[in-house]
Symmetry: C2
Subunit: 142 residues, 2 copies
Amino acid sequence: MSRDDATVLFLNEAFYTAFRGRDLLAMHDLWARAAPVSCIHPGWQAIEGREEVMESWRAILGGEGSPDIRCLGAKARLLGETALVVCYEALGGRLLVASNVFVREDETWRLIHHQAGPCQLEPGEVEALLSEQDGEGEGSLQ
Amino acid sequence: MSRDDATVLFLNEAFYTAFRGRDLLAMHDLWARAAPVSCIHPGWQAIEGREEVMESWRAILGGEGSPDIRCLGAKARLLGETALVVCYEALGGRLLVASNVFVREDETWRLIHHQAGPCQLEPGEVEALLSEQDGEGEGSLQ
């Protein structure tokens, strides 16, 4: 795995850590400043523009309690100065599948697009994803 | 609009034309050869690999009749040698929202990723999207 692959996967995990921790400041840091951004929350229409996307996160993260979200089976693909991560999201009892697009900006990678939508997997497949994740030993990111 | 923007939007429309026309050969041409590809059909898990993605299109396009799919409100963003299109899909009476990722390959642009998921819009917003599309005069692509 290249250093960029590892960085993108680390930042992808940081996105879910910010989500789970309702950490709006971390979420702000993770999204691109210069490049135009967009976001498609499950069932929502596409949101365009940094201010509008951040407003949506403010609404989502502003509730009480901690969203029980975990990222599973993340795979990164480097495409020059762009990177695409496809991963699953275990959110409460639901399973979602997501596309996260990053660009290289200010010597790091930042999100420019997120789409998550419902996903039907067989229970055995979900368990395989979960056990795969548990086996990766990414304790520092949990 | 740059020439690349226009090409990517044209190829994005060609993707839906191939879908609507159950044109598996056109679909083959639209997807990348060299770059790894992935595809997330609504509700499905992520499919990886050109052969597996094409097999999914063979299953989807192999039915009878023509899927009543239209692409609405497509917007392209160029990211160096990568391009991201966010658009809506009117599929029968359902509305979906999609992310389509293209890379520059062999002097054209080819799809490397597609995710579509359900989207709830107010009826007025759907009509606005439809009338916007009708006003664009893209008759040659319909």
